[in-house]
Each structure stands twice: as C-alpha cells, then as structure tokens.
Symmetry: C2
Subunit: 294 residues, 2 copies
C-alpha cells in the first residue's frame, strides 16, 4: 500500500472533479467565483472526499459515481474554513500559505463565498447516483445537514468561541471537537460506506472508524500548532496559545495528548478488523492522520 | 376570500411548526439558539412558507405534510437576512423593529446563526414526506440549493453589492433581483406545486406566477423604502438612497415602477387562469404583495 501515491492520485481526481463541477472562475459574478476558486483550489489535503471514496472502496462499492458527492464535502469543509478565518471569528490572515479569503478579497465577499460553498455542497450531495436509491441519498443528505449544523460543525464552532479565554476540561474539549471537526470526518466515512452499498454493520464500523480518526486528527492539529513549522503548515503556529485556547496539549500535556491520539488510531484500526484488503487505504490513512507534518 | 384571516391562520401554523421543529432556545450552545430564535421568531410575514402551502393547495395537494419543508424556506430566508444585515454587507441595525442579530449578539454569533439556519433549511427540506417519492423530494432539494446558491440568492447579493455606488440599467437591476429575491419566491411556488402533486403544466404555471410576484415584491420593497413609514416597517427607510443603491424608483421613476409592479401582478393572475377556486389564496396574495405597507 503506497499511501503517498494513493493520496496523490485521489487528490488529483478530486481536484479535477471540483474544477469540472463548479463554474469557471470567470463566471458572473466574477468576484464571487474568484473568491470561491481562491479558497477551494488552494491545495487542500482533500481528506474528507478521499475518505468518502476510500470507505466506498472498503465495502466493495464504486468510487467514480460518488465523486460529485465527495466534492460536496470538500466545498462544505472549505466554507467552514472561510467563515472561521473571518475577523469576527478566529481572525486568521494566512491559510495554506495564501492570504485567507477576506484578506485577498474583503469580508462581504468571504461571507458570501462561504455561503455559496455551503449551499453548493447540498447541490452536489443531492445529485442522483447510478445504482443508489433516492431514499438512501435523501437519508444521507439529511444526515449531512445534521452533522454540519447546530448539532454538529456550526454548534461546535460556537462552543469553541465560547470556550475562549477560560479553562475547559477534557470532557468539554472532546465534546466541542466531536461537533466541530469530528462530525464531518465521521460523516464522510459513514456516507461513503452507505453510498458504497455497505451493510448496516459495515456502515457502523466505518462510522466508528471515522469518529476515532476525527479525534486523532484534531489532537494532531493541536500538537502541530505547538510543535509544527509554520513554513510547512502554510499558516501561523502558536495561535492557540496566543488566543488562550484550550487544546489537548494544554489540557492534558504533550505526552498524554500524543498517547490519546495513538490510542484513537489503534481504535480506528480495530474497527477495520472485519474488512479485507479493500480497507488497506483506510488503514494507511489512519496512520497518516497522526504522522502528518501539516 | 378573507386574506387577512388566511394569512393570520397560516402564519400561526408556520410559527408553531418552527417552534416545534427547531431546538428550544435553551439548547446548547445557548447563545447560538438564542440568536437563531431572536431572528427567526421576530414576527416575519412567513411569505415563502405560506406560498409553499398555498401552491400545494392550489393543485389539490395536502398542506400539512409540507410544513417542515415550508419552514425550511423560512429558515433559509432568515439566514439571508442575518448575513445581509452584517456590517460588512448592508450594515443594518434594525430589522422588524428589533436590533439585528449582530447588534443583539455579536458578529461571530450572527455569522454562525446564519450558517446554522442555512444548514437546517436543508435538514428540513430533505425529510421524507408521506405520499411523495424520494426522487421528487431529492429533485426539489437540489433545486433549492441551485436557487439559493451562486446562481441564485448568494450570487444576487454579490451582484447587488458590486452594483453599489454606480448607476445600473433596468436590465441589470432585474437580473440582480431575479437572483437575489426572485429565486427563492419562485422556488417556493414551484416546490409547493411539485410537492403538492401538481401536473407539469401546473408546476410551470405556478413557477411563472412566483417569478412575477417575486419581481412585484422587490419593486414594492423599493417603493416602501422611498415612501414607507419606518415605524410601520420596523426598519430604517431611505436607506437605498443613502447607500447610493440603484432601485426601481431610482432607475425608472416612481410612476413607472408602480406600473411595472401592477403589470407583474396582472401577469401573475394570468398564470392562474386555469386554476379553480383552490387558487383563490394565491390570487389574493398577489394583490397583497403590492398593497402591503411593510
């Protein structure tokens, strides 16, 4: 299993699909599409769409027909980055080594680019898929809305903002991140398994896999903010400390945070125990989640 | 046809449904739900959900099962108001006689409340409906995403911002409003007809009805900004002039703008000519659109 090659191939696949699924950068209103393009085509890892494809593959499903759906998740993820970066929120100037959307354009354009990406995520997610019933797609679209909304991503971001400048305990921190970053990663795995035609048991196993790597991903993000190289990361580091934000390292200490991340990866691998070699990309991805440097 | 009674009854129906469909105001994170509640339960006209119900009724369909869907449109409309009111956009302090969301709370909370309302709109729109196929619902959900996104509402708001401080002609103005306000009103009628089980011809007729009243609605909004009473309107008037915004009165003059609105209402009524008395609420609504004082 050559993960580097797998990621490269799949990133290229997602990038090409995004280019063909979204309007060209010159479409009216030009400024809006420039802003969408600026943030969406900025060299993201494409983790969420790749998880959709890899989970479909793991249950023996087709990958290609799920590309629009998978790209929808990347649009939704990108919207959350654009809005989180706004001055009223995390006030970030740099993202993936480039000016954030509101720095490159302006706040109004960034708010609208985020709104448009959130909306188009549902357009892409609700397209018919060959071989999948409309009932299944509708069920998945609704779950996406739940995981992205006040019970998921948006609620988690609000709780994260409300937790600034005060000490939170491990339980609250996990609850925040289960919503803020965990929900969409878990959803990517669950929906990939479901749209790939997995059994109820398989869907459940991959959902649990997603929950575990989601937590490991967030802990690694926090660790990289402390120990990472801002040149490799393409964004400022040490921000959590400067913003007096509670993180896994600040709440548990660096060694315990590393151990918790390791445990989650082991848990994720355990959830894959009944899967054959078709789940090898997911096994490799789990390791990559905590070994990445950006 | 007692429209006043019809509107009152239907507003109460929508208000009750919204209360039961959305989490209570004390749900975690409390601040987010307070903000959502503040903007959503502020005494809106509920025009879009009422159009969904009235169009379903016009084609002989059931109204009750469409309530969650109809409420989704009100959530989506409310999100657009919250984001449009932000300082980076139209910078409004007052809406329906109350402080706008970012004035009552703060910008971050308002952005997130808008994001949550946009997202929950798709959760409500993608719920199963008794007697309607999942294919039809999925089709309608996708159309909602198209009409709300960069080709519709969001794109129209961007074009509106880009048109500030310069003179636009009538064609550009119509194109902006066809997207910004027209798309969702048209969609409300089209989706109500489709989910109500209307024939292809009926759906088309009610879509055209929606397009016509949508334009009349916008012209009336512009007229009220010039001639309306801010105490009745619950928001500042004369803002378009202060913001150097092109409006129907500023582009065509007051009398021509009034005539254009009247023509659109006549057009809307023409589209209802093959409908029986079940479309009487829509006929009355068309007149109300331009006769309203707020």
């Amino acid at each position: 299993m050559d993960l580097k090659h797998y990621l490269q191939t799949n990133r290229a696949l997602v990038d090409t699909a995004l280019q063909s699924l979204l309007p060209a950068v010159g479409t009216l209103p030009v400024r809006l599409h420039q802003a969408i393009h600026h943030s969406l085509m900025a060299g993201g890892k494409r983790l969420r769409p790749i998880l959709v494809l890899a989970c479909a593959e793991a249950v023996g499903g087709m990958r290609e027909p799920l590309l629009p759906f998978a790209c929808g998740l990347e649009c939704l993820h990108t919207y959350s980055l654009i809005h989180d970066d706004l001055p009223a929120m995390d006030n970030d100037d740099l993202r993936r080594g480039r000016p954030t959307c509101h720095k490159q354009f302006d706040e109004a354009t960034a708010i609208l680019a985020g709104d448009a990406l959130l909306t188009v995520a549902f357009e892409l997610a609700s397209r018919p898929i060959v071989g999948i019933t409309a009932e299944t797609i509708l069920h998945v679209v609704r779950q996406l809305a739940i995981d992205a909304g006040f019970s998921g991503m948006v609620g988690g971001q609000m709780m994260d903002l409300l937790a600034e400048n005060r000490q939170v305990d491990l339980e609250e921190l996990r609850s925040i991140h289960r919503m803020k970053t965990g929900a969409l990663i878990r959803f990517a795995c669950e929906s990939g398994a479901r749209l790939g035609g997995g059994s109820g048991e398989q869907v459940e196993a991959l959902k649990n896999y997603g929950a575990a790597i989601g937590l490991a991903f967030q802990i690694t993000d926090d660790l990289l903010d402390v120990t990472g190289d801002s040149r490799i990361m393409g964004k400022a580091t040490g921000k959590d400390h400067d913003n007096a934000k509670s993180t896994y390292p600040s709440v548990m200490g660096l060694p315990s945070a590393r151990t918790l991340a390791e445990e989650q990866i082991q848990l994720a691998l355990d959830h894959l125990k009944n899967f054959a070699s078709s789940a090898d990309p997911l096994r490799a991805l789990a390791r990559y989640i905590i070994e990445r440097t950006h």
